[in-house]
């Protein structure tokens, strides 16, 4: 396939796109299942922002690949090994606290990642990031407020969110371990050295955990592989659901 042998720049754009799409797809599964209407709407709004962002990146990647490639091809016709999203994005939704712990780690990382991308050597990435950071700051505020509410809530909510946060910590660690896709991008000035984003992320996360009366987290060893295309068992199920229509009816439009 034409995207299997893409250059490092296109690969990096796809990596950014895959994070947004896979997490957006995960969050959209909350539609109709949120604990109350307002929160159901909030998560689906965040999902919508992420899928919109994924479209921007895939559209750009499709232009770089050329040969008539479209954003839909990249979202719906690539196999699991071609996806370069962080493992945390594909992790199942679990309960409300699990989803918000995952979101809190991701949003906080995403905010600092976009801040760095706004300084990218690539104009298009700069423009996309400058736009997306505004939405992402709302996401980050939302998920942080939930961490505080749950941590500083009841004994049960405190225990559950502490457990969710500890569970996702090794997955969050992957954000800051450079993979070839990050290293190549950093060399070209496209994106940051991801390990350099750790101090700001840690400081922000810890300040929220303190407000939430939660213990500091230990990132532990990094559960990684997503950026190299090596995914968890969950990834195949997401693609199966997300891609089934496009694969069954290749010329379908909607």
């Amino acid at each position: 396939m034409k995207w299997d042998t893409c250059d490092p720049k296109t690969a990096y754009v796809l990596h950014l796109a895959d994070d947004a799409l896979i997490l957006g797809q995960r969050l959209s599964a909350w539609c109709g299942h949120g604990p109350i209407l307002e929160q159901d709407i909030a998560l689906t709004n965040i999902a919508l922002d992420l899928v919109g962002l994924a479209r921007q990146y895939y559209g750009y990647a499709a232009e770089l690949i050329g040969e008539g490639c479209t954003e839909n091809d990249l979202a719906y016709l690539r196999d699991s090994r071609a996806f370069m999203n962080h493992l945390i994005c594909e992790h199942p939704n679990g309960h409300w606290g699990d989803t918000l712990a995952r979101q809190f780690y991701f949003d906080t990382f995403h905010f600092f990642q976009l801040e760095a991308l706004a300084q990218s050597s690539d104009e298009r990435l700069r423009h996309i990031a400058a736009k997306a950071i505004k939405e992402t700051s709302y996401h980050a505020q939302y998920s942080a407020e939930w961490i505080i509410r749950l941590g500083d809530g009841t004994e049960e909510s405190h225990a559950k969110i502490a457990q969710s946060l500890a569970h996702y910590a090794p997955f969050a660690h992957e954000f800051f371990v450079p993979a070839p896709v990050d290293q190549d991008a950093h060399k070209m000035g496209l994106g940051p050295d991801v390990s350099s984003l750790l101090p700001a992320w840690k400081e922000k996360v810890e300040s929220i955990l303190t407000l939430a009366t939660l213990p500091a987290i230990d990132l532990g060893f990094a559960k990684k592989g997503g950026k190299d295309g090596v995914h968890s068992e969950h990834h195949g199920y997401i693609l199966a659901e997300m891609q089934s229509l496009a694969r069954a009816y290749p010329d379908a439009t909607w």
Binding site: E38, A42, I128, K134, S137, Y138, Q141, Y142
Partner: protein
Amino acid sequence: MVTLERIKEHLALVMDPEVPVLSIVDLGLVRSIEVKEAIITLGIAPTYTGCPAMDVIHDRVREALSVFEAPVKIEVVLHPPWTTDWMSEAGKKKLEAYGIAPPVGKAADKRSLWGPSAAVRCPRCKSEDTALVSLFGSTACKSLYQCQGCNEPFDYFKCF
């Protein structure tokens, strides 16, 4: 005759599908209008990256400009990014009259990641004693508030 003035007049009639009192001109989404060799080229900014209304807006723009019987090219302009500062003062007044609280303050001094929130005025009773119910309201660009004065819930167009 296709003139920039006439194109603007027609664009001022294209309403946002989610906020039907505001035209795309009030919102400040029209960035550029160009007529060259009988082709109309428009630069239109998206409000939110994932705003589902964008496709509808593009369709309505084409429909509104169909009177000119000229090909219409729409370019999506990402830079500089759209903010609520682009919304006209007239637009903000129309919003409030419609029952949606307009964005408070300028984008540059909007509350940052975890700062305190600005006072949002109830569009009905004008009380500033209001509380945020949810950051995300009926659309991505709005938050849900409740007025402590008249108890009515209302939408607030986020400062963005």
